[in-house]
Symmetry: C2
Subunit: 465 residues, 2 copies
Amino acid sequence: MTPDEFRRHGRQAIDWIADYLERIEQFPVLSQVKPGEIRAKLPPKPPVEGEPFEAILRDLDDIVLPGITHWQSPNFFAFFPANNSGPSILGDLVCAGLGVQGMLWATSPACTEVETHVLDWMADLLGLPAQFKSDATGGGVIQDTASSATLCAIVAARERATSGRSNQSGVRSPLVAYASTQAHSSVEKGVRVAGLGSENLRFIDVDDRYAMRPDRLADAIAQDRAAGRIPAIVCATVGTTSSTAIDPVPEIGRICREQGIWLHVDAALAGTAAICPEFRHLHAGLELADSYCVNPHKWMFTNFDCDCFYVADRAPLIRALSVLPEYLRNRASESGAVIDYRDWHVPLGRRFRALKLWFVIRWFGVAGLQQKIRQHVAWAQEFAGWVAADPRFELAASVPLNLVCFRLREGDEANQRLLDRLNGSGQVYLSHTRLDGKFTLRFCVGQTNTTRGHVVRAWEQIRAG
Amino acid sequence: MTPDEFRRHGRQAIDWIADYLERIEQFPVLSQVKPGEIRAKLPPKPPVEGEPFEAILRDLDDIVLPGITHWQSPNFFAFFPANNSGPSILGDLVCAGLGVQGMLWATSPACTEVETHVLDWMADLLGLPAQFKSDATGGGVIQDTASSATLCAIVAARERATSGRSNQSGVRSPLVAYASTQAHSSVEKGVRVAGLGSENLRFIDVDDRYAMRPDRLADAIAQDRAAGRIPAIVCATVGTTSSTAIDPVPEIGRICREQGIWLHVDAALAGTAAICPEFRHLHAGLELADSYCVNPHKWMFTNFDCDCFYVADRAPLIRALSVLPEYLRNRASESGAVIDYRDWHVPLGRRFRALKLWFVIRWFGVAGLQQKIRQHVAWAQEFAGWVAADPRFELAASVPLNLVCFRLREGDEANQRLLDRLNGSGQVYLSHTRLDGKFTLRFCVGQTNTTRGHVVRAWEQIRAG
């Protein structure tokens, strides 16, 4: 494709996306296709000769769109959002166009330095403690997801807990990880991948707000120590997936400090709220954490994938992950004056993902980001008020931010039926969880283009059953 | 950003990329900035109010471009390529615009089904054995990089070698991995992350073509068994990073089968060549492999990140990585009729990366891809001939594909000086390795827009010293 062809087809692709976003509310939010329906429309063999770009674009409409669940629909209230925005899409486009691979500082200094800089901006925006910034002992890096960040935290914690022995000789003694019963499934996945084993993950009880009980954590640690096991890491959650519960990081952090245990704080969704001073209390106690992550690809209008992972001390992370073959040696790395982010995560290669985050922060400005976050929280609170006022429904958990957990009082079957009706209608998309064993609907207000009107209409549909 | 603003700014971004690609040869291929130079141009704090898109675009020229090492320059001959192409950029753009998150089939069936289908296409294109296709016991998935694919292979092998015990109880006994001395650094990184420990990675000697010696592999396995250790995985390489050496997969595979050891084959760069029937011999013995990966983001004109990872049996991979919390349960998954790719890699969330690969295969067609690969190989062979004919130079390794390893006969210092001169000139970018302890230049022909003229001029500059 020549540059001139790229100009022409690029405009077609841009227009296609703009048209898509304009008509997005015409599609069922949750794709209604049956398994295999999309594949059946694809030819069994790839074409021998190239096809015109117009044929490819046409298949987006004919084949792809029916199989899309529209995460960018303002009627998407399921899971946590994975939203995008114009500046983010265009930042990602420039990333693809430049096509740099920033495994080393030298292989594109701007890829590394813009990332370091924007992650320092983020640390200030979110009120993170000074040690997480690049001019201190720590620093931030963009990873794909919080799952990968959690894995890296576990590996660095393992390295520190065994003074490097597990990296050299393998995991040999029982290293224990702790998280609440409400923690994300990625903690167990990471514990497994890192060779600790699921049996060495303790699920700590929660209080009536679904937040980790520090007393139970302390008990579990004491039991493991008494049995000769090595407590290695606590994964606290600020904003759990089920109900945005906030673990008490200050108390958990004090225990971790006393015990010399790595504290990782997963604020994948909720961390973004700390852009607003009135929500910065979410980050209380973070000065006691060894690592932290937040996903701008969830609630900060930056398209997937973009997880910001911070460490208070970069040394154990780099020691755990750095392997330096001859073919990557270069004068800049040897000078010690640069960051080579390849040592901060599992992949060697890396995209210029900082561009999209940089574009988003500059396009919206801090005030623009704050306004959107405040609106989402306010509408979720308003929605929670409607639920509370309707005698058929009950709130299933407190609503600290933008997620409302609620249910019909009638019981699990009625709630499953309600969810099936709503999602089958194509008008809205909600997801579910279980709280205290009860089937519970989750209504998360966080899509970039959701307005109060969308929230109002969603509630009308929920009540209409 | 409204859809209309997106149309306008989208065109600006498309034009900026097209202009960039037109003038790319005006920039020094290797960025010439000093550490900190890019950051010094960035404001210490993010803007409170949003900025116009034009200001952001302007900074791409003023701040970012001087810090770019131009991977898309046709004069880029370093490392292995990470090339892009028009259809790939636009496929990635549509991915960002749709903004779907395909963790589950239900969260965008097209994201899963197009991926499965295109990975089956790839299996046919590359002549992979039938067990790697989705209608058999295995299947393919897109991961970010070969490093992550290797980690997943190690984790699945660990699961199989211990009948699931390491996943449950952690790594407790010495599990051993094997790779040649020339294998990629990601094997050691993966061995560490998975908790096996660097000491349990055996670097097997190579022959005079830098390919793994099967007799030495068999010896090492026998020694480990005798010592009570558990051989778990062999990572063979088809196209090593230093010199594109081809490990003898048929012989290695027979040993692995006899011994019940997982065989992973890393063909990150070289696998793409198998699109051409005359190079399909690269894949001899793959029917004995348990897993395999190739990176279209290297030599297949598909922008980073896009690694195709295949397993012959998906069961141990999924058993190792699947954790199912309530909030991800859904009727489609429970039907058993769909693939949920979240269980095929470490991250939970996932982009619609299959789009760019689908766009590339359709735009070029099989014949178009073959033509480009054949040209690159032919020009590299021609370059190798010029080196061989010049008495000042010597070839440092055989040239099976598109990478020429060569050096001045004068010794390491002269070669380091030559490399510094070339890369400092900004006219070309080469990287280096060590072979038999000697500093060796690597010249890889694989960038999308490289022509024979670029190769000719590069040789003129190399000779001119």
